[in-house]
Amino acid sequence: MGGLDAVERGPLPSDASATSDSGSAAGESDHPSVAALRAKFGDAIQGDTVHAGDQTVVWIDPARSLEILTWLKDDPGQKYDMMSDVTGVDYGGGRPVEVVYQMFSTTHKRALRIRCKLPLDALEIDSVVGLWVGANWLEREVYDLFGVTFKGHPDLRRILMPQDYAEGHPLRKDFPLRGRFSRAEQTRRALAQDVERFYGPEELVEGGAPQQVAARSEPAEGEG
């Protein structure tokens, strides 16, 4: 697609280096990190492709994610020192939920996207907060909205939804757009919440009883 022939070029000579390839066609990646990853971790690398023209995506084994990400951060040839984004994707229809890491290396000026497929019955992955502190809130958000548990996260509580939100994890595809409860029930629950309850001094300490909080929001799964 494109129809670019019809585009009238402006008075300025267009920059020859501007990428204009057709994007999205999946192909072999020549990203230097991919070869290095394959050489180092072998079959923990489940696949790689190029999306959107020039963006390299690598699928890795979630069981070894922490090991691989640690190497990507610390190896002098990689040095992905900035974790731009941690997020989740749910395709629905019983397919695995994916956790996506978008990384950037300020040394080599390279970006890399790592994805991990988590089967619906084992939504667990190692936390990377120990490597990048900035992942703290991002992982909490994935936990809140997708229900993925990050093992070893210091403070895994809901972040956007109320702590006692009982309807589930909103960004999952089986979650209805308007929520699971009726509007009247949602309003009643909203006004009944006690916003001060979740911030006793003991919960301010990092790592303060996250399991307890997780347990409180767990009934979500059962209802509906």
Partner: protein, 230 residues
């Protein structure tokens, strides 16, 4: 409108000397209805409590800034403390997580008090017919004036506030307690009962329409508690 309009004779005849600012024959007294005087005072010295959350709050700031100048209507002082405020201007989206905060602010405001719902989101949820948003703050607090728009222009907000002033002008002190009584049992409770909330917040066309458009790839499990037809 000045005090002169309230007075018999329209305050046009000025007496000659001294204190005689007001007309109607005598320099020292005036006759009028107590309602008129009190309402005149009330409506020209409203202190708004700006409960601004999102984009609409920016337009509220613009309304208060020099170009539009809310101060012309006696709303010189934005009262950031609910206990000293008369009008709650709810500008912006109100998610369920914020609902108890809004309700508490309303409960903290002393009578007499009024509420303006500014923008589509505050009035009806707007485009956000989703799991996290209150579908109209009138399910939580009583609203006097709805200002439509996304966001309403500052002129729109000012017009809404002038309608509040008009409403105040028509109030009567004799029915003060009837109008202004508050049931302590209703503190921190929804304003509307269940049936009314369901009626007020029914699917708005937009979201259900989208649901039909979804080409089957978005799988939804039917849910008895869900009021959206699958």
């Amino acid at each position: 409108m000045g005090l002169g309009d309230l007075l018999p004779g329209g305050g046009t005849q000025k007496s000659e000397g001294g204190l005689g600012m007001f007309g109607a024959g005598s320099p020292t007294f005036l006759t009028t209805k107590i309602d008129e005087v009190i309402n005149w005072g009330r409506r020209n010295s409203l202190w708004p409590m700006p409960f601004g959350t999102a984009c609409c709050a920016i337009e509220m700031m613009a309304a208060a800034a020099s170009n539009f100048d809310l101060a012309r209507f006696g709303m010189e002082r934005m009262s950031f403390s609910p206990r000293q405020a008369d009008v709650l201007i709810c500008a912006g989206r109100v998610p369920y997580k914020l609902a108890p905060v809004l309700r508490r602010i309303w409960d903290q405001m002393p009578q007499p008090k009024w509420c303006v719902s500014m923008g589509a989101c505050a009035s009806s949820g707007g485009v956000f017919d989703v799991y996290s948003m209150v579908q109209g703050i009138d399910t939580i607090v009583p609203v006097d004036v709805y200002v439509p728009g996304c966001p309403p222009r500052p002129e729109g907000l000012i017009y809404g506030l002038m309608m509040i002033q008009e409403k105040i002008r028509q109030e009567s002190l004799g029915r003060h307690f009837e109008h202004r009584a508050e049931d302590p049992a209703l503190v921190a409770a929804p304003r509307a009962d269940e049936e009314e909330i369901v009626g007020l917040t029914g699917p708005f066309g937009n979201s259900t329409h989208q649901e039909k458009l979804a080409d089957g790839r978005i799988v939804r499990s039917p849910d008895p508690n869900d009021d959206v037809p699958v």
